[in-house]
């Protein structure tokens, strides 16, 4: 079975925010909720790099581990989804997530934040695929339609890749071999320090 992943090639990302507005467009995400955002490091300095961030659909998702009501689950494709019916808006997942993915419609503490919302990898939620109820709670279910997340599909420079981890890793590997520089995948240097030349 496929294991869905995102990969952002920081040597290609230009912080154009297409991924951000594509997500808003596809799921009608309201003002204030950002399932995806672009983060820029060394902004305005030599070495400036941007990377598009959303839920990374972790293999062993820390959000799921801390959720007191067990509303977060992983699908057979490796997509991390949650049930808004079960969510109590406690905010634990927000603290557990290393990427800041969980979003809440309201500001407050202890259950007053409203139901958590986050990137679904365009795969909806626990309701029947493509149903109206699913759309209203989680937005479109593109995976069920045989499509991939719109953010990656619309990426201006083909920086953001989405799909089966094996395949996108292969695409990225070929790209790096071809151009001969930059394991520009975000986090590479952090993970491998100086032992591997970028």
């Amino acid at each position: 079975m496929a294991r869905m992943k995102f990969l952002c090639d920081a040597d290609r990302c230009i912080e154009c925010n297409a991924c951000v507005t594509a997500c808003k467009n596809e799921h009608e995400v309201p003002w204030g909720i950002n399932r995806r955002r672009v983060v820029t490091i060394n902004d305005g300095k030599p070495g400036e790099r941007s990377v598009s961030m959303a839920c990374m659909h972790c293999t062993d998702a820390p959000c799921a581990a801390v959720c007191p009501v067990n509303c977060i689950y992983t699908t057979a494709d490796g997509v991390v989804l949650h049930s808004k019916d079960l969510c109590i808006g406690c905010g634990y997942c927000f603290y557990a997530c290393p990427f800041g993915a969980p979003q809440y419609p309201k500001v407050g503490n202890f259950g007053s934040r409203g139901k958590m919302d986050k990137c679904t990898f365009c795969a909806g939620g626990p309701e029947a695929d493509g149903s109206k109820a699913e759309y209203e709670k989680y937005g479109a279910n593109r995976l069920a339609e045989g499509k991939l997340p719109l953010c990656a599909e619309m990426c201006s420079t083909k920086s953001l890749l989405a799909g089966d981890g094996e395949i996108i890793a292969q695409i990225y590997k070929e790209r790096v071999m071809k151009r001969g520089y930059g394991s520009g995948a975000w986090g590479w240097k952090t993970a491998y320090r100086e032992t591997i030349e970028s």
Binding site: C16, N25, N34, G44, A144, K147, L150, S156, L161
Partner: protein
């Protein structure tokens, strides 16, 4: 802090203007409401099948999911920049419910930027105009279309009676389709004025003039896709990562595949520069010294392409003399760039070929804009980098159809397709339009004014406010009819308020009220302003021209919403009221007041021989959109054996010679002698005579040929340079026998007195073009490109300091051109520069101020700042300031500042973004904001419910005097300011 970039968390609990901007709840028929209402239940579900690999799949997914089943798919073109991305829309029951990637487009291959990925919102925006309004006693009041058009028309008649037709300024738009722009220009012609202009004036008018004066046509020579072939990409005066994001797909992939040099020369370390292999920081306003500095090294080291120069270039010796003045020391003194770095750049550009030079408004928006782009062309010519893959002047135009609107002559200096304004041009169009030349003449105040260029839009307010005797037409401008143009993208906003006050009538035809509305209320107007709701381009159909000269046909995605009307319908209604609709639309089908776009294009096809817009029939363009997937991604060509689009280049990039039946494939790369003309090849256009008399130092003269020397396009039967084709030249060659009888009859009819004089561009039969093509020749001839562009204010580009420069020590040596009368108005740049030096303005305002684009917004920004998906990403107007300058002034990152300008005691309040992106001594502002003026929030000045979500100070509140003598271009890219903590 909510200013850009590093912290992009949006404000859930925002305060002030943003909260006010968002107070209305969604109540219109949005997608969700629509789905609810239509009671769609989930149908049978598609099983999760094997997914296509990665996001770079090529296979076409099934469009319809359970919620979108039954939706139809329509294609149009993104309205936000000149890349020309296809927008794929899903429409259900007349509602645009979703956007899908346009995988088939050879231009964007599915991609969009933030703006393109959010265009759906523009159509169903709750904040767009719903019905016509007028200002009554200072209040916006609803009126009907009939009332509005009648009252506007009556007022126009009154003004015409009193002040003549030139007192009405027709300001059109690069947002309109070709058909809209063309009809708008035609409306101006039938009304009787050349005061018809659009955004090209303030974006690339200097490019059009400078580049056309160099080698024939003032357009991008190659294409976005072709940049993939370059071994050296040099971007000077452009930030495509923000202004043309999808182009970066081609630039960055090209950089990777070719292991290309990626040189960025810019005062700012832009988002584009972040990907550069070589970044060069220059002082704003020193483009010519930098380019000459590069050329100095090239000539010093013999890296120039001597054979290319010998065969295809005129005026090299004159240029050499100017370049020799720019040794590395002088270049560094003026521009701040060390000689060693420019030597490295020069070597890369001249020796690691093919090299392309990319520019945008960084070069054009200056008083020396025309000279800047000329210097850029000269660098390309010197290194033989024109007319082949991976080379060329890749000029990134701004708006989605600014190339097209320029081509169709929505301009003050020409009729459609660069025919100019001389009697011959008017007679040509009279023949195409099938109206009497005398009728057209009777519409104008005089024959003389009919043949005189109009007033540039940069100076409309001066045309309204200057003493009458300084305006070289019957009277001041008394009315402005603006259809799709921002007012805050024009410099000197404080003075435009005087213009708004002085007008008798202002008509704003737009999907949004724009700053024309909010500033006219601020100027104290109580009446005489009308707002007409115009549909977005997604509600209209027609052709648009991308920067690479490709024409793309956009379908109507949904019908105009609320009471808004198609541009073409508005133009028709105005023409009808003004009494000449029957003549103006003589050959164009009109149904329910809506002229047919296809018919309009056919009329353009019949008259556009000069530019090769004659082969792009609506049928061919529609076939291209239908068969997008067949075009090669790199060459943009379809396989030769395809029945519908075989052998064509995508979008039939002009020139596409001859009638549609000739089936010319279009010209993907201009001036490419390696291809035969019928395959898209070409030569430089001899547009400036065939020989020139030069004075020699000893006082004698000699005649020098301006025709190509031993260079010609592949398969040409004439193996040398040749002038443009006329019937006379066909006769001389014995090719006139190839003309058919009907062609000959048409030619004779055009000029019965002297048919021999009828040329390739005037021959409405297309016969002369057809015969030239048959013999492998380019209809316009085969000439040399000009390094010496005699006829321009500076035939060889000369460095001139900006009007407001911090380097007052350089003004004596490099002053701006003397005061002169241009385009019906005085240009007193020299006096202003002199006064600024004498008054010590640079001491009072020590920071250089430049301006530019953000990726989230476009142009004046009212439309994009109304889109919540975009507005959320950029909520505050800001100014970039270097850490050193900020520390000197006690300014904190994210703190409020007052920016003051060198004229009109101008001031503006905004946030500070302290960043090393700008160098010391330089500040930079985005130009998309509006709706504030001098610290005051003008939200209340908009008609209720139509105010953009995000408002802010306009950069152009601070910008100052300065106009290019050749085009009237403004100078928002370099002026002076001071910044203080607020």
């Amino acid at each position: 802090m909510l200013i850009k970039r590093t912290q992009q968390r949006s404000a859930i609990t925002s305060s002030g203007s943003i909260a006010a901007g968002l107070s209305g709840q969604r109540s219109g028929l949005d997608r969700r409401a629509f789905l609810r209402r239509s009671g769609l239940a989930g149908g049978a579900l598609a099983a999760l099948t094997t997914l296509p690999p990665g996001s770079v799949r090529t296979a076409k997914a099934a469009i319809a999911g359970p919620l979108t089943s039954g939706a139809t798919v329509r294609k149009s073109i993104c309205t936000h920049c000149s890349v020309g991305c296809t927008v794929t829309a899903e429409v259900l029951n007349g509602v645009w419910i979703g956007q899908e990637p346009s995988w088939d487009s050879p231009i964007n291959r599915g991609s969009h930027c933030a703006k393109g990925a959010s265009v759906r919102e523009l159509v169903h925006s709750e904040r767009r105009l719903r019905y016509p309004m007028k200002l009554v006693g200072g209040q916006w009041t609803r009126v009907s279309w009939d009332t509005a058009i009648n009252e506007i028309g009556d007022k126009l008649f009154e003004i015409r009676e009193k002040s003549g037709p030139d007192s009405v300024y027709w300001l059109g738009s690069a947002k309109m389709t070709n058909e809209g722009s063309y009809l708008f220009r035609k409306l101006g012609a039938f009304w009787g004025t050349n005061n018809t202009d659009h955004q090209a004036r303030i974006c690339h008018s200097t490019t059009v003039t400078g580049v056309a004066n160099t080698w024939g046509y003032g357009a991008m020579t190659n294409s976005y896709n072709d940049i993939r072939n370059a071994k050296t990409q040099m971007i000077m005066g452009g930030n495509p990562a923000e202004a043309h994001p999808v182009s970066l797909q081609h630039l960055l992939e090209g950089k990777e595949l070719q292991k290309a040099n990626f040189i960025v020369i810019d005062p700012r370390l832009t988002r584009t520069a972040a990907h550069a292999t070589e970044y060069v920081r220059m002082r704003p306003g020193t483009d010519i010294p930098v380019l000459y500095g590069i050329m100095w090294h090239i000539l010093q080291n013999g890296w120039e392409d001597q054979e290319f120069i010998r065969q295809r270039v005129y005026g090299f010796d004159d240029l050499r003399k100017e370049v020799e003045k720019w040794n590395p020391e002088e270049v560094e003194r003026v521009s701040g760039i060390p000689g060693e770095q420019l030597k490295r750049v020069a070597k890369m550009f001249a020796t690691e070929k093919p090299s392309t030079l990319i520019w945008a408004m960084g070069q054009t928006q200056k008083t020396v804009g025309t000279a800047n782009v000329r210097a850029s062309c000269i660098l390309l010519l010197m290194t033989g980098n024109v007319g082949g893959p991976g080379m060329g002047a890749n000029i990134f135009r701004g708006h989605d159809n600014v190339q097209g609107a320029t081509d169709v002559g929505l301009d003050i200096v020409t009729l459609p397709f660069y025919y100019g304004l001389a009697e011959g041009a008017w007679k040509h169009w009279a023949r195409v339009w099938e109206v009497d030349y005398d009728f057209l003449k009777s519409r104008f105040d005089s024959k003389q004014i009919m043949e005189t260029p109009g007033i540039p839009l940069t100076r409309w307010f001066e045309a309204a406010t200057l003493p009458k005797e300084q305006v070289a037409q019957k009277d001041n401008v008394r009315a402005v009819f603006v259809q799709g143009h921002a007012s805050n993208s024009i410099t000197r906003v404080p003075e435009s308020l005087n213009g708004l006050k002085a007008l008798e009538l202002l008509v704003i035809a737009d999907p949004h009220p724009t700053t024309w509305a909010s500033l006219s209320v601020e100027a104290g107007r109580k009446d005489g302003v009308y707002i007409l709701p115009v549909a977005t381009q997604f509600e209209c159909k027609g052709s648009r021209v991308a920067s690479n000269r490709s024409l793309q046909w956009g379908e109507q995605i949904v019908k105009p919403i609320f009471e808004s009307k198609d541009d073409l319908e508005v133009i028709y209604l105005v023409a009808k009221k003004l009494g000449f609709a029957d003549k103006m639309f003589k050959n164009i089908k009109v149904e329910n007041n809506l002229p047919e776009a296809e018919d309009t294009l056919r009329e353009m096809n019949r008259g556009s021989w000069s530019t090769g817009y004659c082969g792009q029939s609506p049928e061919r363009l529609k076939a291209h959109m239908k068969n997008q997937a067949k075009f090669d991604f790199l060459t943009m060509r379809a396989p030769k054996d395809d029945p519908e689009v075989g052998g064509d280049y995508y979008g039939l990039p002009w020139p596409c010679w001859g009638s549609p039946e000739v089936r010319h494939p279009g010209t993907p790369l201009l001036y490419n002698t390696n291809l035969s003309v019928m395959d898209g090849g070409g030569t430089f256009r001899p547009r400036f005579g065939i020989e020139r008399e030069e004075k020699l130092p000893d006082g004698t003269t000699r005649k020098v040929s301006l025709l190509a020397d031993g260079s010609y396009s592949k398969d040409s039967e004439i193996k040398d340079g040749y002038p443009e084709f006329t019937l006379a030249s066909l006769k001389k060659l014995g090719w006139d026998k190839d003309l058919s009888e009907t062609e000959m009859a048409t030619i004779t009819k055009i000029n019965s007195a002297n048919p021999d004089a009828v040329s390739w561009s005037l021959d409405l039969s297309g016969g002369i073009q057809r015969v030239a093509l048959k013999h492998g020749c380019v209809p316009y001839g085969n000439g040399k490109a000009r390094m010496n562009a005699f006829g321009l204010p500076d035939p060889i580009p000369v460095h001139r300091e900006p009007i407001y420069t911090p380097r007052v020590d350089l003004v004596a040596k490099y002053p701006t051109l003397p005061d002169a009368k241009q385009f019906r108005l005085p240009n007193i740049g020299f006096s202003v520069q002199k006064a600024a030096v004498e008054k010590g303005i640079a001491k009072q305002f020590p920071l250089i101020l430049s301006s530019g684009r953000l990726v989230e917004y476009e142009g004046g920004g009212e439309e994009t700042r109304t889109n919540p998906w975009l507005a959320e990403l950029q909520q505050d107007m800001f100014i970039e300031i270097s850490p050193a300058d900020a520390a000197d002034r006690g300014i904190k990152d994210g703190g409020w500042v007052w920016v003051t300008g060198a004229e009109n005691n101008s001031r503006a309040r905004m946030k500070a973004l302290v960043t090393e992106r700008v160098g010391k001594g330089v500040a930079w502002m985005p130009f998309h904001f509006g709706g504030w003026f001098a610290g005051k929030d003008l939200r209340g000045n908009y008609p209720k419910g139509t105010d953009p979500i995000v408002l802010g100070e306009s950069a152009n509140t601070i910008t100052t005097y300065g106009y290019d003598p050749a085009t009237g271009m403004q100078e928002p890219k370099v002026t002076l300011c001071q910044i203080a903590a607020a």
